[in-house]
Symmetry: C2
Subunit: 210 residues, 2 copies
């Protein structure tokens, strides 16, 4: 691997993950990972552009940023690329009205979205809201559509909380894919479009970013 000086030569921007990189989520707002508050501060003082790029889909950006600021991070809502706003843009562009299989914490991101007579399903990390009834409702909506559209905010398998491992959105996305014989459209990491939109927001090309 090239030495750091050389690797950083053409670098203009940095994308930072949040959960598991800046902080560990959990009861009471989670905890900052050692050194990360200062690392973000130093990056922001440097000539590099910084963008936060997360698959967090249990909380709205407002809630997430509030939590991080309380932990000492210099971060604002406008600096965050998250899957819910990206999904909203897709819904508007394609005239889609979703049944929302999501956590109540992220529902405010969809305030401007028409959810009457659903013609698609949006699934996110819903946690306890992944009840049989709710998952079955989403399934029934999909089965009644001629061209079922399932939009998944990420496809993570699981994440770690202070209380233990927790099922993420991916397993439930797979459940609906199998039940309906369809393939979900993933919005969020690892979708290249998602990273591109984060880079566009800071005006940096992929080869100039880390």
């Amino acid at each position: 691997m090239a030495p750091w000086g050389k690797r950083l030569a053409g670098l203009r921007g940095v994308l930072l993950d949040i959960s598991g990189v800046l902080y560990d989520s959990g009861a009471g707002g989670g905890t900052a990972i050692a050194g990360s508050v200062e690392a973000v501060a130093r990056l922001k003082r440097s000539r590099l552009k910084v963008r936060f790029c997360t698959n967090e889909s249990q909380k709205s950006r407002a809630e997430l940023v509030g939590q991080l600021r309380r932990l000492g991070f210099d971060i604002s809502e406008e600096e965050v690329t998250a899957p819910a706003p990206a999904a909203c843009q897709i819904l508007k562009e394609r005239g889609l009205r979703p049944y929302l299989l999501i956590h109540d914490g992220v529902r405010s991101e969809f305030d401007q979205i028409d959810t009457s007579s659903p013609n698609c399903v949006v699934i996110a990390d819903a946690g306890e809201s992944f009840s049989y009834q709710n998952v079955n409702n989403a399934f029934q909506v999909l089965m009644e559509l001629e061209n079922p559209v399932l939009i998944s905010l990420g496809k993570g398998r699981y994440y770690k909380e202070t209380s233990g491992l927790m099922l993420d959105v991916g397993p439930y996305m797979k459940a609906l894919e199998y039940a309906c014989g369809i393939k979900a459209e993933v919005v969020g990491k690892p979708s290249p479009e998602f990273f591109k939109s984060a880079l566009q927001a800071i005006g940096v090309e992929a080869h100039q970013a880390q």
Copy 2:
């Protein structure tokens, strides 16, 4: 296709499905499908051996047979091949102690099974018991095992109730497979072993059965 006389020539036994063939499940015990009560009676009066072969995993055999008898069917518990007893045999043979992600209605089938310190998961059509908490418990059990074993009673996508389409065990099996990066062992249809055990019970070879 050969005429019936010829096709029936070497026939010695018949395997009959139950749900969707003999009756439709639903509120109030379901309803017999037209002609099926009499068809079973006629088969039993014939020289053919009859065995009922079901993937029903929400009810114990006792409950299922009780329901069918109330609808007029000539059927007894001993004539039914079902996945729960087949799974119990596997658990005993391999010294497995399951975490049971199942419907309360079928729990009695596992009365003789040691469920302390689970070293595997058995998943069945659990209906409302597929809460996030329960599915996550099963996931955590599997993730703590060096060699995670997931036994699934069938892998059906969905079934029809009078109230609409309902998610079956298959989608939840897929969810756990994806979350843990494993492959489930399916007990029940369409596993060849399951059909073989049904045929063995009536002493009939595969080529002699319909």
